[in-house]
């Protein structure tokens, strides 16, 4: 999902809600695996021609991490939630590289490095600049609009990350093996999307039965 897709998410949840489930309906789960087959080269770093020495080797972001979400969620699932999450800056890398949260979540941008960091975003969904702060310090940002927020460090141009802000709670981030699980999904038919490294890569239709249960759905991202 790119910046242009930001309004889509908000619009989709507002205009195309699935019908409310019957009272005796049982919520189900959607689970599976996102297999990344596309090439994910290391992110380009601007050459440091003006440096007087070799820059330290830094960690690379885990770009295989994906987010799976329902494009249109059931009505009544759109309330704000004042949750908390953390995005750390460690060895000149944002950890995690992808953070998925609901609207209203406050994210703690901690600094675990010995150097300054300066987190900022110019994304439409959230523009902020936290200024420079040192190791052990942390600054908070509350994400109050749905969309994709691209996060950077002003000092270290190779550092970037994503915060995906959802208007509903039907999403999950893949684990180290690409597995995901979305629970408490009311019965209905949904469009489900696998997002990876800045773009929605594949969307499918999935049906959660009236009696609930677990739906298995795998994605292959090429």
């Amino acid at each position: 999902m790119n910046a242009a897709a930001l309004p889509f998410l908000a619009l989709a949840v507002a205009v195309e809600p699935a019908a409310p489930p019957p009272a005796r309906a049982v919520a189900g789960s959607i689970r599976g695996r996102v297999e990344i087959l596309r090439d994910l080269p290391a992110p380009q770093t601007r050459p440091s021609v003006g440096d007087l020495g070799m820059p330290a080797l830094r960690d690379l972001p885990n770009r295989r991490r994906s987010v799976v979400y329902l494009e249109a969620a059931p009505q009544g699932a759109f309330e704000e939630h004042a949750g908390r999450s953390v995005m750390d800056q460690r060895n000149e890398t944002f950890v995690p590289y992808v953070l998925a949260v609901t609207v209203g979540t406050t994210v703690d941008f901690t600094n675990s490095d010995r150097t300054y960091h300066n987190v900022f975003s110019l994304s439409k969904a959230k523009r902020f600049d936290l200024g420079r702060y040192a190791k052990g310090q942390s600054k908070l940002v509350r994400f109050d609009r749905p969309g994709v927020v691209r996060v950077f460090c002003e000092i270290h141009s190779h550092m970037s990350a994503f915060v995906l802000v959802f208007a509903h709670r039907f999403f999950a981030t893949t684990d180290s093996e690409g597995r995901y699980r979305i629970d408490n999904v009311p019965p209905g038919t949904y469009t489900i999307v696998a997002w990876n490294d800045g773009e929605p890569r594949e969307s499918r239709t999935v049906r959660v039965a009236e009696e609930g249960g677990v739906v298995e759905l795998d994605f292959v991202v090429r």
């Binding site: 007087l52 830094r58 999450s85 110019l122 981030t173 180290s176 629970d183």
Partner: protein, 392 residues
């Protein structure tokens, strides 16, 4: 549904923090960078911002291509090619970087290397400079040349405030008019070998190069090498204090050979510098002091110059900052036909502006610059300049 949703949201939000797999280390790689900057301003009739007879920082379009090939973890090749105002491209940097011991902060760089002296010249011009102009000490052309020698004090004084096109009618060396020297030339780098040693909060670097601060060279033109060094101390995060020194022969062999026999010798540029940078939250404050002295064959005393710069940048809101720089360049006094006078005209500059970044990698700047000079044909000049910078 609502109550359950709240619980689920909390669960899912925390689930997103599951630790990823061990991140891979940075591999061997080839990286390219590109920076395009274009500045548009009125004609600088006082030549306050000229870096040569034809080019001014206020009317400069520059395409810069950088490349780094990390051959191994401990060896890399780096290069930067620039094209300015659609002129011929030139190589700005081309060197090998070696780290002999992986665990030690000791590096060797050889080739067309970044200067160890001072702080400004190692910054990327477009994106790391909050304003459009250069600090005077790194750009302003004095009335001293390295390929021509003033015959008398009067010969030099008559050129006060005219450093963009200098000619000494009574002098030696090249008789054709040509631009003078800045204190430190930030537009080209010197060829040579440098080493850097870091230990905790202290970093020391030293270099042996072909040219001098005023006149960096790829090929030596006088058989004299420059020694330069800098020690930087970082007592706390955000504070850097640096002290630099440099010493090298600046007059070309051709200029020296044109002198009378009894005046030939080695003529040095010696310089010392202090730089401080403090940054915190939305602020960056920087200051540099550069003192330079040039020995001249036909004058009894050396010619001194002192450049003082202080600049600050403050972010006003995401993507928008304001910045200002105060600049002064002063010169030592010599005995001329009309009494004691500074050998070049002192200059003051105030530059203030804003920068706006609508998206990552795009920066638009607007700056107002006012220059004063105690000599020369044009003594005061105000300029309003816009600049766009794009980089990848």
């Amino acid at each position: 549904m609502k109550g359950g949703a709240l619980v689920a949201v909390a669960t899912l939000a925390s689930a997103t923090m599951a630790a990823p797999a061990e991140p891979p280390s940075e591999p061997r790689r080839f990286a390219l960078g590109l920076e395009l900057s274009a500045a548009a301003g009125p004609e600088d009739r006082g030549f306050f911002n000229y870096t040569s007879y034809e080019e001014s920082t206020q009317r400069l379009a520059r395409l810069s291509l950088t490349a780094e090939w990390r051959v191994t973890e401990r060896a890399a090749l780096l290069a930067e090619v620039r094209e300015e105002n659609l002129d011929h491209p030139h190589v700005y940097a081309l060197y090998a970087r070696l780290r002999p011991w992986r665990e030690r902060s000791f590096d060797v760089q050889a080739g067309l290397v970044p200067p160890v002296f001072g702080a400004f010249a190692r910054r990327r011009y477009g994106s790391d400079n909050p304003l459009i102009g250069y600090p005077l000490a790194y750009q302003y052309l004095t009335s001293l040349r390295n390929d021509a020698v003033p015959g008398t004090a009067a010969d030099l004084i008559v050129m006060r405030g005219g450093g963009w096109l200098v000619r000494y009618p009574l002098g030696w060396g090249d008789p054709e008019p040509a631009p003078g020297l800045p204190l430190v030339n930030a537009l080209s780098w010197d060829a040579g070998v440098q080493v850097r040693l870091g230990s905790g909060p202290v970093e020391a670097s030293a270099a042996v190069t072909q040219g001098t601060l005023s006149s960096p060279k790829v090929r030596d033109d006088n058989s004299g090498k420059q020694l330069s060094a800098r020690v930087a101390w970082k007592p706390v995060v955000g504070l850097v204090v640096g002290a630099s020194g440099a010493r090298g022969e600046y007059l070309t062999r051709t200029a020296v050979d044109s002198l009378p026999d009894d005046r030939r010798g080695e003529f040095l540029q010696q310089a010392m510098g202090l730089d401080v940078e403090y940054s915190r939250d939305r602020w960056i404050l920087r200051s540099e002091a550069i003192w330079s002295r040039w020995q001249t064959p036909m004058l009894p005393q050396s010619l001194g110059a002192l450049g003082l710069t202080a600049e600050g940048r403050c972010k006003i809101m995401p993507g928008l900052y304001a910045a200002a720089r105060l600049d002064h360049l002063g010169f030592s006094r010599i005995d001329g036909p009309d009494g004691r006078l500074s050998w070049d005209a002192p200059v003051w500059r105030v530059e203030a502006g804003v920068g706006y970044m609508p998206v990552r990698h795009v920066l638009a700047k607007l700056a107002y610059q006012h220059n004063w000079r105690d000599g020369g044909r044009v003594r005061e000049r105000a300029l309003v300049t816009a600049q766009a910078v794009i980089w990848f």
